[in-house]
């Protein structure tokens, strides 16, 4: 057999169009992740659950605004829980897949972001159909739109946090524990801490501090954005009025939207940085 005496190694300097190709690879990976998740059927169950809950709330309440309030409360608990736990477990179960990809000429960041994109897309599709469709059917107003947008952003943020939790620990049980702790902190503990500090420092003017604290929790951000749309802010007393004043204004909405984006991009960026240096 004739030998290949000179095997050429094209040096990989960045050629024009290289970036586009790289993004294509990331999208391809995301596509296979979505296939894999859809085969799992858990996301389908989540979709059906959301659909049943939203339909029943809208049918039970004659006033769609009230239905939306009840729906909001369920979403703010269930959505972060499902997003964090499912995303963490999925990432641990994907190590085989990532190992396979890592032996190929694919960048680590592309592999990781492809995983993120696939996971986020699947959960967003489930939320979009499960909650988005009924909300738009029963209440096609601005508040319905806000609920859907808040839900989608919250999904992205919690998948980010879940991926961060998953790269921080090699051990699956610890990673899932960390993700659960995060969920518990954001949905339950955080409010308690804020209330307690309000009570403890009730002699001081704390409105601005409390308002700032809302930015430190994505669930709070979503809840406030939603309550303002539902005109329930008046029920929140003086701070509520302050929120109304601040968040209700265009800059307030813009700022809370930006804060939400930071909650999505921040943990994800950190997770990518850690993943790039990780031993597989």
């Amino acid at each position: 057999m004739k030998g290949l005496t000179a095997i050429e190694f094209p040096q990989s300097v960045s050629l024009p169009g290289e970036n586009i190709r790289a993004h294509k690879k990331m999208l391809k990976i995301a596509k296979y992740v979505v296939y894999d998740i859809l085969r799992n059927r858990f996301v389908l169950a989540y979709l059906v659950f959301l659909l049943v809950v939203s339909m029943s709330f809208f049918n039970m309440e004659s006033d769609p605004a009230k239905g939306m309030m009840s729906l909001l409360n369920i979403i703010l608990i269930v959505l972060p829980l499902v997003s964090t736990v499912f995303a963490t477990i999925h990432l641990y179960n994907s190590y085989e897949f990532m190992e396979l990809l890592l032996a190929q000429p694919l960048k680590r960041s592309d592999i990781f972001l492809g995983e993120y994109l696939g996971m986020a897309t699947s959960l967003c599709i489930a939320f979009g159909i499960g909650v988005g469709v009924p909300v738009l059917l029963y209440d096609g107003s601005m508040r319905g739109f806000t609920l859907v947008v808040c839900g989608l952003l919250l999904t992205l943020a919690f998948v980010s946090l879940a991926f961060l939790a998953a790269v921080l620990s090699r051990d699956k049980a610890r990673g899932i524990g960390l993700a659960l702790l995060l969920w518990f902190f954001c949905t339950i503990l955080y409010d308690g801490i804020v209330l307690m500090s309000m009570f403890a420092f009730s002699d001081y003017p704390l409105e601005k501090v409390i308002m700032g604290l809302a930015f430190l929790n994505p669930v709070d951000l979503a809840r406030i954005a939603m309550l303002l749309q539902l005109d329930a802010a008046a029920l929140m007393g003086y701070t509520g009025a302050l929120f109304q004043h601040f968040f209700g204004s265009a800059t307030g909405t813009g700022l809370s939207f930006l804060a939400m984006l930071v909650w999505i991009a921040g943990p994800l960026w950190l997770a990518v940085r850690i993943f790039r240096k990780k031993d597989i």
Binding site: M1, G3, L4, S12, Y95, E96, L100, Q104, I280
Partner: protein, 237 residues
């Protein structure tokens, strides 16, 4: 072509690679030998960029491997234990790999796919495959894109004699095409057939790197297995 300079790696307190310094060139088939836990797989994974060394440089074709993953298009890797997405079917796995490499591959080498009759099991999901069948899939994937460098981690472990023979013949053929092979194995007779050079690792240290012939003359043994056994004896404290 592949150069490893002063590479160190620790897992916690354990030093897995200590100052590894070695250089491989085209046409070599290097057997990587050493007791269990001597750092063979870690060395391979460092070359593939799966394990990041604490210090030292690994260069491929003159370029240090870094964030850029493009050098891996020239490497075919067969892992010790091939782990694949459970829900995926065999055919889908091959389609996916081709799809992901679409654009940087010109030659597809499906010789092993045909030799192992893998199309017959394309509908089976990866989860249902036996260890040996998985090894066949891993081998076929490693050779699929016709890369000039092949890294095989215990390639024949778990394969039945016929399949192992098919793989060894394939390696022989590709070796003649001036490719570089790095092979770890505990089966000395296999390595004796395939290797041109031998690396011996012990406790993360490179003990020697010699041609097979030199090793045999130095130890005065005809067979690689005996020669290695003799060296292991002298290394015992």
């Amino acid at each position: 072509m592949l150069q490893i300079q002063q590479v160190n790696k620790t897992f916690g307190k354990l030093e897995v690679l200590k100052n590894i310094d070695v250089r491989f060139s085209q046409g070599q088939a290097v057997a990587i030998i050493g007791p269990n836990g001597s750092g063979k797989t870690t060395l391979i994974k460092s070359i593939l960029g799966m394990v990041v060394p604490e210090s030292g440089v690994i260069s491929f074709a003159g370029q240090p491997i870094g964030i850029d993953a493009q050098y891996r298009r020239h490497i075919g890797y067969m892992p010790q234990i091939g782990r694949y997405p459970d829900n995926m079917q065999v055919g889908q796995l091959f389609d996916m790999m081709r799809d992901l490499r679409n654009g940087d591959v010109t030659v597809i080498d499906d010789e092993l796919i045909r030799a192992y009759r893998l199309p017959d099991i394309y509908q089976k999901s990866m989860r249902t495959l036996s260890g040996g069948t998985r090894q066949k899939v891993s081998a076929a994937l490693a050779f699929l894109f016709n890369p000039p460098v092949m890294i095989l981690d215990e390639p024949t472990a778990g394969l039945d004699p016929l399949s192992a023979e098919i793989l060894k013949e394939k390696i022989q053929r590709e070796k003649e095409r001036n490719k570089l092979f790095l092979i770890t194995s505990h089966i000395m007779s296999d390595l004796e057939e395939l290797a041109t050079d031998v690396i011996y690792l012990a406790e993360g240290r490179l003990v020697f790197f010699k041609t097979l012939e030199a090793l045999k003359t130095e130890t005065g043994e005809e067979r690689l297995g005996k020669a290695i056994a003799r060296i292991m004896e002298t290394l015992q404290p």
